[in-house]
């Protein structure tokens, strides 16, 4: 899933200081699971904004709604009337959701309430970690199902580098993923595979090739 984190309240409140009626829009997918932008967070943000503005001399009206998915226009159609009422929309979705909202409501000012972090998941309650680097060409069959592109600080494909010690990366608070790759490959009896040199990667399939687009004519309608 997409992992995101809420921006500081201070930052959000500054972005909305010139607006008097805002729609705070949550998303019921990834950001609900990672406790950043679901229905509950929408409620908390709305209350906090109203309290803050009440203390000043410019009260704010908040409209609250959470849709199934912000990254699909179909679900945004349902909030058309609410959007019309508001001066601006605070999207509590990932960067994809924010842009879908902006595209669907071209005359509305849209504010991002979250920082989108990575494609990952929860490893324990309250902790999320990156898992996929979205490089566009999966190599997990070569590395025992552990991704060095996303999880090695230097995205080294023939690791580990000399900075690995006691299972830790030279970068603070990071596990050495090549340590884990080797241990897993050894346990699976596939060390020989790691002795093969992985050649230079084709990064043109990653973001380096420009914005990516996927076209499937077989499922297109009309």
């Amino acid at each position: 899933m997409i992992v995101a984190e809420q921006k500081s309240f201070d930052e959000i409140s500054k972005m909305v200081e010139s607006f008097d009626k805002v729609l705070i829009l949550g998303c019921n997918e990834c950001v609900t699971v990672c406790l950043a932008g679901g229905e509950k967070e929408v409620g908390v943000l709305a209350t906090s904004l109203r309290l803050l503005r009440k203390q000043g001399d410019r009260p704010i009206t908040t409209l609250e709604e959470t849709v199934t998915r912000q990254c699909e226009w179909e679900y945004l159609d349902q909030i058309e009337k609410l959007a019309e009422e508001a001066d601006c929309i605070i999207s509590m979705a990932c960067g994809v959701g924010v842009q879908y909202v902006a595209e669907r409501f071209p005359d509305k000012w849209v504010i991002p309430a979250l920082d989108t972090k990575c494609a990952g998941g929860s490893v324990k309650h309250g902790q999320w970690e990156e898992r996929c680097g979205m490089c566009g060409e999966c190599i997990l069959h070569k590395t025992g199902g552990i991704c060095p592109v996303a999880r090695c600080s230097k995205r080294i494909l023939n690791g580990p580098c000399g900075g690995s010690q006691n299972g830790k990366c030279e970068v603070k608070d990071v596990d050495c993923i090549w340590d884990q790759i080797y241990k897993r490959m050894m346990a699976l009896g596939r060390m020989d595979q790691l002795l093969e040199i992985e050649p230079e990667k084709n990064w043109s399939k990653a973001r380096d090739g420009g914005p990516r687009k996927l076209v499937r004519e077989d499922v297109m309608i009309g």
Partner: protein
């Protein structure tokens, strides 16, 4: 084409025990300090490394520094990391470096930028150190760029070096990775600074078991540690390094810590020379270059061998 070989490669091939030094380029646009350091190293080392923005701190480029040491009469080993350049910039710099008379190249991953003075910078890591070695080898042996396109003339023919760290983990994997570097094209190795000789000895055993000492020239990295304070700092703060307590204690107890530092370093080199498969020593004096001649002398490695007719390339 022996006339094209570097002094470093020639000495290895002649079976000499090779000595190299290291110079860290300055954080300013001048070569005078580099040339000064090179003067200290001249005639007591066979070549010297020029580090490439080490610990991710902006410094004068390793290639430009290489030219300064050539002008001071010392052969350079230019370091090249994968952190700051993509394969286009790397190959362009390799052509440039070779055109200036630089013949030895040391390929590394590079410290992560979070350690340096620009922690908010983007890193590159388009290729890793093993892929870099492979690119340099293919330029030389196959006369092609990384993309496969032919280099029609004047291909760079570097003597290819790599690093090995016997003190990083997982221990066994270190030797596998070294083998991978040799398979990629590495011809010589410089190790991380060795303080824990016992571990280095065990590592060399694994190296010999796989016959790697016969496929590449291995140089052991050493460092004269000026004071107990520096040793304690390195023990605590430098990644990928093991500094034994005994060494810190020995420096602490010494009346003249600098003299003791030299003594320790000389002892280490003498022990390293006895280890089968080690073909040279790489002395990283890190700002204390003026001490290198007396260390090399005390070990008994002076004078350095001369190569008849091998003048450094005039620029």
């Amino acid at each position: 084409m022996s006339e094209n070989k570097s002094r470093l490669q020639t000495l290895f091939e002649q079976g000499e025990f090779v000595v190299t030094g290291e110079i860290g380029p300055p954080k300013g646009a001048t070569g005078s300090g580099i040339r000064e350091h090179a003067k200290h190293l001249k005639n007591c080392v066979d070549a010297t490394n020029l580090t490439d923005n080490q610990t991710a701190i902006v410094r004068l480029s390793s290639i430009a520094a290489g030219l300064h040491v050539i002008q001071a009469g010392v052969e350079p080993i230019v370091q090249m990391t994968c952190r700051d350049r993509n394969r286009i910039a790397i190959q362009s710099d390799l052509l440039g470096a070779y055109s200036l008379g630089i013949k030895n190249l040391l390929c590394l991953s590079g410290d992560h930028q979070s350690f340096g003075n620009h922690p908010t910078a983007a890193n590159v890591f388009d290729v890793d150190s093993i892929q870099l070695i492979r690119i340099v080898k293919r330029m030389k042996d196959e006369k092609v760029f990384a993309c496969g396109e032919e280099i029609k003339s004047d291909e760079p023919r570097f003597f290819i070096g790599a690093v090995a760290n016997p003190f990083a983990d997982p221990f066994e994997v270190r030797v596998y990775r070294m083998e991978k570097k040799i398979n990629a094209g590495a011809q010589f190795f410089q190790t991380q600074i060795i303080f824990d000789l016992e571990r280095f000895d065990r590592w060399m055993e694994l190296v010999r078991e796989r016959g790697l000492h016969e496929r590449a020239y291995i140089m052991a990295g050493v460092m004269p540690v000026k004071s107990a304070k520096v040793a304690a700092y390195m023990q605590k703060s430098v990644s990928g390094m093991i500094v034994p307590d005994e060494m810190v204690d020995r420096l602490k107890k010494a009346e003249d810590q600098k003299a003791e530092a030299v003594e320790i370093c000389v002892e280490q080199i003498k022990q390293i020379m006895k280890i089968k498969g080690v073909k040279g020593v790489h002395i990283m004096a890190v700002g204390w270059e003026e001490i290198v001649p007396s260390i090399v002398e005390k070990v008994g490695l002076l004078p350095r061998p001369q190569i008849p007719g091998a003048a450094l390339a005039a620029v």
